[in-house]
């Protein structure tokens, strides 16, 4: 392959007076060229961005100051679950709407962990909503709704993790909402109660 046939074998015979030229090998050592080739490959492999970054699409709820109170969807307490994101990647959640000012909601503390984390809580709630649909207490239109309320001490990764849990657990309806002072109070109370 690499060498060319320069010997005149099979060719015509030279005359007796013709001097034979010195035969030089045309075989080229390709090793440095291979080295160079692989060096460049390595360079391009490291600088390239073959894997394009992935994106997550989010739709925020439509917000308008002029929206009338009666135009807003009313959320049923039985399908609602509120998730509060707090410091140190801690997650608090409660079920229902907590619209009774007399009684604090039953706030539970968890985190983003594979076992007994927020994921299990979401799956449990989802099953409960499905069971209520079968029992006929909820119509087919009702969907489990998660209200995500990050507080000021939470980080962006908490938010992304939470949104990711929504797609992991196939929760169709969710919204990112500003946390209220009342809910910040719940977090403080729970922190104090459990000595965190």
């Amino acid at each position: 392959m690499a060498e060319m046939d320069t010997s005149s074998s099979g060719g015509h015979k030279k005359g007796p007076g013709v001097k034979k030229g010195k035969k030089l090998s045309t075989r080229v050592d390709l090793t440095p060229m291979v080295d160079l080739g692989f060096l460049l490959i390595t360079f391009f492999m490291f600088t390239t961005t073959l894997a394009k970054p992935k994106t997550m699409e989010i739709n925020m709820p439509y917000k308008d100051k002029n929206l009338q109170e009666e135009e807003k969807n009313k959320l049923k307490a039985s399908v609602a679950m509120t998730v509060l994101l707090s410091k140190n990647h801690r997650v608090y959640y409660y079920e229902g709407l907590a619209d009774n000012p007399e009684q604090n909601p039953d706030l539970k503390v968890t985190g983003f962990k594979p076992k007994d984390g927020i994921r299990d809580a979401i799956i449990r709630k989802k099953k409960a909503v499905d069971a209520m649909k079968r029992a006929g207490t909820l119509t087919a239109k009702d969907n489990m709704t998660v209200l995500i309320k990050p507080d000021t001490t939470s980080t962006y990764s908490d938010l992304v993790n939470m949104l990711d849990e929504m797609s992991i657990n196939d929760v169709k309806v969710y919204a990112i909402i500003d946390i209220s002072d009342v809910e910040q109070g719940y977090i403080k109370d729970t922190e104090a109660a459990s000595g965190l």
């Binding site: 392959m1 390709l30 692989f38 600088t47 390239t48 394009k52 997550m56 990764s157 990711d164 992991i168």
Partner: protein
Amino acid sequence: MPKAKLPRKSTNIDMTAMCDVAFLLLTFFMLATKFKPEEPVVVTTPSSISEIPLPDNDIMLLTVDKKGRIFFSIDNKIKRKELIESVNDDRKLGLTEQDINRFAIGPSIGIPFNRLKSFLSMPPDEQAEVNVTAPGVPVDTSVLSPDNELAQWIKSARYTNPKLRICIKADGEAAYPHVKKIINTLEGYKIFKFNLITNMKAAPPGTAAFEERQKMASAE
């Protein structure tokens, strides 16, 4: 029994085939490569199971670093030029033709308007140095506030290119209030749909998304 004499073989290997392979791969990487865009700050994005790829063009990229500094950029050079011209008119920045051209080919902007002119008059390596300590584009919760310079950038950018998709690339450790300000600004312009740039991770087994993916895979 006398040993059978093995004929001596040459240890020279023909490198041609290897060379062919090397250059074939080299050609592939050279053609397939798209150099990493110059990033003003190092950002470690959180992971998600989302598989939607980032679109190639018409992107407005809002980079948020660990400390919550915001850097703004759009992709197309021609649009960048139109953008800076319109911002220049709106905010009376007094940029020269040279500054405008520098912006068009330059990197992300993470500097308030009052320092933009001096920033653009610097050579690229000095700009990179300034970006280390730059305060980021000032932002506020309301779009109407004159301090909300990000709002001005977004407004002008959407005016020059209405097809722009807004992508937020934020560091996982950035505090939520910084991201919230951006979201509030976008909501102020009635933008309720945008993209968050994330790394990819696999769906955890035993969940709804995992089963969905399995079904998709077996259907193929």
